[in-house]
């Protein structure tokens, strides 16, 4: 007879001999636990009759078709017997209509307590794996099922804090109502002793129950429910510590909690403990994963995770995408070589080799090519790691382009500053020297004028001495010319050390050059044939006078390099980003040994040169953000080309005098 309350198979003698495992339309499976031998009649081939207890339904005839041991995990759980209904009985049952011979659901229905525990565990498990059990909802859930299972009037669940005297959460469910308390602190001192003693007892795996509460019996005050006649306290114990307690009370039935209730409550509490622990582990995992995810996603470095074997990108962070300009789907599944991100393949190979040899790589500086083709300077660090058993490479790339640019910029301005300082010191010296030279020059020149004036008068008065006087006058002329030359040198020196004066206005280069050419023709002594080819350029921001100075210097050099009557060509043209002026001569060319020092101040190959022309020219051009270059062939000639940009380089300072 199947006992519908217990789900057990009861022998004719009324002793539970086995448990119903499964009831199928064709038969039934019954487990006889190891402790008890199967009843004598249960042997293969033996006819049996099975009935549901309580007189409901006729016994069904069948036959034992199989007996064997069954295992529960590793240990033998007992002997299992399979009983197959007789053909006739099955047919009869089917003809009768609705119900199968024995319906497990029906059995479960008739054994509410069993099904409740099974369901409770199921539900708890589902609830616990779906969302965190470690919260008020979890505790209320536990209380509801504890009540359903044990019939307790009030169910109360506590969640302990991390410290001995504290609790975090307390849920009380009574009828349909539930209450939640949250506290993060010690319990009241008077309660603390009981509380600690209770926790101690709980830790030892005990449980406390009183079926007939006497007001005189000391009962933990914190767990006292006024008017309770029966109480059952079960620890919610994790693997290492007690996590909480499940308390059940009943105010009406003094003997509310029997052994079955105690056992069920313990099972329920264990399940709850498992879920609590799992929730906490998951939570801490989740938060640590979240932490790492945040580092990954919001890191200031570009971070990528690549499969080591095939090299494909498995994951990249937002910074990487922002940096490179790629979209996620454009890189995931592709390789660094595939998207060509390493601008220098030899660096890529070198980095990989080092990574394989040492397992990690730090601050390897190289250039990366962004999606739009631009190159950026990056510090590459990487480590070989395993993700889910798969060898991977975790890479960090820090963009140091701006840093390197700033460093270069700093170095440039440092050099510029050094030059400027030198020049300004030199400038003061030159200004002082110029004044000292020009003062005697003044009275020498004045006296030369007076001498000339008086000699002219003498020549008129003394015609006999005319030729003598003319000779002296010629000497005076040479002296006057010498004074003029001294003064030009002083002025040129001064111009060299003077900082460019800002006075830029938009002007087309051909027009500026034309002015210089006019100027050159008036002083150029007609020694050469000047060929002028000035194509219009767009307006450029130029400081007219210094730029004309540049052109004059170049023309002067070209003239000096040309043989008498030689040809010099000057041309302008518009180029991308600005304009160019080229001065070409067909002279001797620049000897290789002179090239290195070509732009050095005071370097000259000419007997009468100051050595300042080209260095001044270069300073002026660079102050405009432009450049000066040349091509030369020995014996064939030289061409200097000055480029001036349409947009002045914003970093080039317009220096004050």
């Amino acid at each position: 007879v199947v006992d519908p309350l217990e789900g057990t198979l009861v022998s004719d003698a009324g002793v539970a001999v086995g448990r119903v495992q499964e009831i199928a339309p064709g038969g039934i499976r019954i487990l006889f636990p190891s402790e008890a031998d199967p009843p004598a009649g249960i042997v293969p081939g033996a006819p049996v009759e099975v009935a549901v207890g309580g007189g409901k339904g006729d016994p069904v005839a069948g036959q034992v078709v199989w007996i064997g041991s069954t295992t529960d995990g590793s240990s033998v759980a007992g002997v299992e017997a399979r009983i197959q209904w007789d053909e006739e009985a099955s047919c009869r049952q089917q003809q009768a209509g609705t119900e199968p011979v024995l319906d497990l659901a029906a059995v479960r229905h008739r054994t509410p307590r069993y099904s409740t525990l099974a369901r409770a565990l199921d539900e708890l498990f589902v609830r616990g794996s779906g969302e965190s059990f470690d919260g008020p909802e979890g505790l209320v859930f536990l209380c509801r099922w504890a009540r359903a299972l044990t019939g307790a009037e009030i169910a109360e669940a506590w969640c302990f804090g991390e410290r001995d005297r504290s609790w975090r959460l307390r849920a009380v469910v009574s009828g349909d109502s539930s209450e939640i308390w949250e506290e993060d602190g010690p319990t009241l001192p008077s309660d603390a002793i009981d509380f600690l003693r209770f926790r101690e007892a709980m830790r030892c795996g005990g449980q406390l129950f009183r079926n007939d509460l006497d007001p005189g019996v000391p009962w933990p005050a914190w767990a006292r429910t006024p008017g309770a006649r029966a109480a059952l306290l079960v620890p919610v114990c994790g693997r290492e510590m007690d996590l909480g307690v499940l308390c059940l009370f009943d105010r009406h039935r003094p003997f509310a909690f029997g052994p079955q209730s105690q056992r069920d409550a313990v099972i329920l509490a264990r399940q709850a403990a498992l879920l609590l622990e799992q929730s906490r582990t998951l939570e801490s995992l989740r938060s640590s994963e979240e932490k790492f995810r945040r580092i990954f996603d919001e890191g200031i470095d570009g971070i990528t995770l690549n499969d080591e074997a095939v090299g494909t990108y498995l994951d990249v962070n937002g910074e990487f995408l922002k940096l490179t300009g790629y979209r996620r789907e454009e890189v995931i599944g592709r390789t660094p070589a595939g998207i060509g991100i390493w601008a220098r393949r030899e660096h890529f190979r070198e980095a990989l080799r080092a990574l394989r040899a040492r397992g990690s790589l730090r601050n390897f500086e190289t250039e990366f090519r962004m999606k739009d083709g631009t190159l950026r300077c990056g510090l590459y660090s990487a480590a070989r790691i395993e993700v889910g058993g798969r060898p991977c490479i975790l890479s960090f790339v820090r963009d140091v382009t701006a840093l390197r640019e700033a460093e270069r910029e700093l170095e440039k301005s440092r050099q510029q500053l050094a030059v400027t300082e030198k020049l300004s010191a030199l400038g003061r010296v030159v200004a002082g020297v110029a004044h000292e030279i020009r003062t005697p020059s003044t009275y020498v020149a004045n006296h030369l004028f007076l001498i000339r004036h008086r000699l002219e008068a003498l020549r008129a008065a003394l015609p006999d001495l005319g030729s003598e006087i003319v000779q002296v006058l010629q000497s005076v002329e040479v002296a006057v010319e010498g004074i003029g030359r001294i003064d030009r040198l002083v002025k040129e020196l001064r111009r060299f050390v003077r900082q460019p004066v800002s006075g830029r206005a938009k002007a087309s280069l051909d027009e500026v050059v034309r002015g210089a050419v006019e100027l050159f023709r008036t002083v150029g002594q007609g020694r050469i044939e000047l060929e002028v080819d000035l194509a219009p350029t767009p307006p450029l921001p130029v400081d007219r006078e210094p730029v004309q100075q540049v052109v004059l210097n170049l023309l002067h050099n070209a003239m000096e390099a040309s043989p008498s009557g030689g040809r010099v060509r000057i041309a302008t043209r518009a180029v991308a980003g600005g304009g160019e002026v080229a001065v070409q001569d067909w002279g001797a060319g620049i000897p290789p040994e002179a090239e290195a020092r070509l732009f050095d101040p005071f370097f000259t190959t000419k007997a009468e040169g100051t050595g300042l022309g080209l260095s001044i020219a270069r300073r002026i051009v660079e102050a405009h953000g432009g450049s000066i270059r040349y091509e030369t062939r020995l014996g064939e000639g030289t061409c200097f080309v000055v480029f001036l940009p349409a947009e002045a380089d914003p970093t080039s300072k317009q220096e004050a005098p």
Binding site: H435, T439, T442, A445, H447, F449, L450
Partner: protein, 119 residues
């Protein structure tokens, strides 16, 4: 004869320029010390003053202001000259009438003087 006062602390410049001005047909009165400038100007009432830019004890801007403010001296044309480089802008900023760079070409000095005096 047009009278010109020349003020310069450099005697060789002073004397040679004076001789030169006389050759050019002017009556030149030399002043070598800063504090003598105003008394000489008051006494001589010249048509022009040829004034060195850097003369000990003379603040050029102050001197020009004083002359302009004095009804007796306001008519004097002020021409500054200097051996300094980059001094072209100074004469305008102090409000002088003209500028000559040392060393100068005497005919050029004469031309500038005539121009300043005409104004």
């Amino acid at each position: 004869v047009t009278k010109i006062v020349i003020a310069d602390d450099e005697d060789a410049v002073l004397s040679s320029t004076r001789a030169l001005l006389e050759v050019l047909g002017y009556a030149a009165i030399p002043v070598s010390r800063g504090e003598e400038i105003l008394p000489v100007l008051r006494r001589e009432r010249p048509e022009a003053l040829l004034q060195d830019v850097r003369m000990p004890g003379v603040d050029l801007a102050e001197l020009v202001r004083t002359l302009r403010a004095d009804p007796d001296l306001a008519g004097i044309a002020i021409l500054v000259f200097t051996a300094d480089v980059d001094a072209e802008d100074i004469w305008k900023s102090v409000g002088a009438d003209g500028f000559v760079e040392k060393p100068f070409d005497p005919p050029e000095l004469g031309r500038i003087l005539r121009e300043v005096l005409r104004r």
